[in-house]
Amino acid sequence: MGSITLQKVSKVFGEAKVIPSIDLEITDGEFVVFVGPSGCGKSTLLRLIAGLEDVSGGHILIDGKDVTQSAPAERGLAMVFQSYALYPHMSVRNNIAFPLKMAKMEKSAIDKKVTDAARVLNLTDYLERRPSQLSGGQRQRVAIGRAIVREPSAFLFDEPLSNLDAALRGTMRLEISDLHHQLKTTMVYVTHDQVEAMTMADKIVVLNRGNIEQVGSPLDLYRSPRNLFVAGFIGSPHMNFVDGAYAQSKNAKTAGIRPEHLNLSKDSGIWRGTVKVAEHLGADTFLHLDVEGIGQITARCDGEFGAYHGDTVYMTPDEAKLHRFDDKGLALKA
């Protein structure tokens, strides 16, 4: 069991209100991702849940029990840190066994659990090594191993993949998702990388300046962002925002169109632009265009489209996929 409820949780550091007031419901077994730009309070929120910071106001409930004043160890949560925070002078085996040893578990039971965890995480051959003798991905797995042997009611991940290189990050992303399917335990995951958020989450919580901008499944957020911030944050490359005459013709202050929802053509379309930079990724090409009367537009097209620096390209927004925002930046219903 691992449901987490935040009721009007706030956090103040001196004069700075990092988190004004947050209400959030995380149900058992969910994979929830907190995502937002740096300084948005997502890590602070996670540390509040973990108990590593004291809340300035409000309540935190785990499985319906108020744990606002409980010590971190009493909350039954396990955390994986950005720097892995492995104990450098202990072997992998002792690192994983540490929380069990602290819980005064029997030696034979500890051995069995450590062996099981090592098998799940492919660490069996490395149990006698020190953390300094492991690669980044292996250290990450040891940190996860140390978390899973405790059988916590929920896992907390604080930007766990940001110290890994791109290829390894992709692999670890899969491994963590896979682990979630095996364990079916609640996971709360903090990241600034919207790709990690989109690929792993059951539910994404988009944070900005300590406030929740929107909560929803990845595709919900992608299809119907509630405001300009979420629209601009979710999706890669970012959504194009168009003000002025074109937006007014659609009865909106700002019109938003994703790069992949622009139909490109070399001879006709409603917008005419010049290619400034073409990023060829193989399957796709991202075109950064200067459009007359509109400004910078990013478009995504097929890798075989064949546009290069200086070429002229016409585009037509897909009306059905257009997002409209009012003057407060909130989305207008279609």
């Binding site: 971190p72 160890a73 955390m79 840190f81 720097s83 002078h89 540490f98």
Partner: protein, 290 residues
């Protein structure tokens, strides 16, 4: 330092300083060794002759010899015990965020800047003096008889004074080590259910191992030759109760005018220091390799 060329050049550049250091060390050592085999007394400097191992026999049969070696080891061991344990404790306290942190740290470190004879004099006359010292005042306040520290517990008094001087050094080294402990590791241990004692034993102490080793090795070098504190306070007495090897050599050389005997004592001290170093490196040296 990659190519053959730069390697040769580097060696050439280093040679003068290495040579100077070598001479600096070899000449006094060789002279001491030479004098230790000579019958050389300053009361009769014209009559210098070779005596073989007589000086060693003379020094070895001195009734103070074994006691002085024992005293040397007690001073080294006692001061190390107090400074390492006390240093860890004070470093842990100083690592907490407190008001006036900068001032407190300077105050804690200041004993290290007091010269040994001055420190010993202050302790002798203002703190441990049986009639007007602070300790005597405290004893009288509780209605007890003041303790005459240097007469009743001479060796212990020396240990206390020297420990007071070296505590800042240990504290400083251990504090910097504490500050380099990763905050996330502490938090991880907290999440893992480790209380303060567990965190200290499993996380802080292993992290400090290397620094503790450095403190022990450096202090031992200096503590083997404690001299000024003994000279100003007990003058080695009562009897030989607070005479260590360094002080015994001083007595032989400058009170007995026996250069040959003192040189023999010096060589014995060098041998003793090497024995201590050998056992120390075996005991704690492996911490330096990590």
């Amino acid at each position: 330092m990659a190519t053959q060329n730069t390697k040769t050049l580097a060696r050439l550049m280093m040679a003068p300083s290495v040579l100077l250091l070598l001479i600096w060390m070899i000449v006094p050592l060789a002279m001491t060794l030479w004098f230790s085999f000579q019958n050389y007394n300053l009361l009769d400097p014209s009559n210098v002759s070779f005596t073989g191992l007589f000086n060693y026999e003379f020094f070895y049969t001195d009734p103070a010899f074994f006691q002085s070696i024992w005293n040397t080891l007690v001073i080294v061991g006692g001061v190390l015990l107090i400074t390492v344990i006390g240093g860890i404790a004070i470093a842990l306290l100083l690592d907490q965020p407190i008001f006036g942190q900068g001032i407190v740290r300077i105050l804690i470190i200041s004993p290290f800047f007091v010269m040994p004879p001055v420190a010993a004099l202050v302790w002798k006359n203002m703190i441990m003096n049986p009639s007007y010292g602070v300790f005597a005042d405290i004893s009288r306040f509780f209605g007890l008889r003041p303790v005459d520290w240097f007469a009743q517990y001479p060796l212990f008094s020396i240990v206390v004074i020297v420990a007071w001087q070296w505590l800042p050094f240990a504290t400083l080294i251990l504090l910097t080590a504490l500050q380099s402990l990763d905050g996330e590791q502490k938090e991880a241990a907290e999440m893992d259910g480790a209380n303060f004692l567990n965190r200290f034993v499993y996380l802080v102490l292993p992290h400090l191992a290397r620094s503790i080793t450095v403190v022990i090795l450096i202090q031992t070098i200096f503590l083997l030759g404690v001299y000024a504190e003994i000279l100003v306070t007990t003058n080695g007495g009562p009897g030989y109760a607070s005479t260590n090897l360094a002080f015994l050599i001083y007595r032989t050389a400058l009170l007995g005018y026996d250069v040959g005997g003192a040189s023999a004592g010096g060589i014995i001290a060098v041998v003793l220091a090497n024995i201590v170093a050998f056992f120390l490196m075996r005991a704690v040296g492996k911490n330096l390799d990590r």
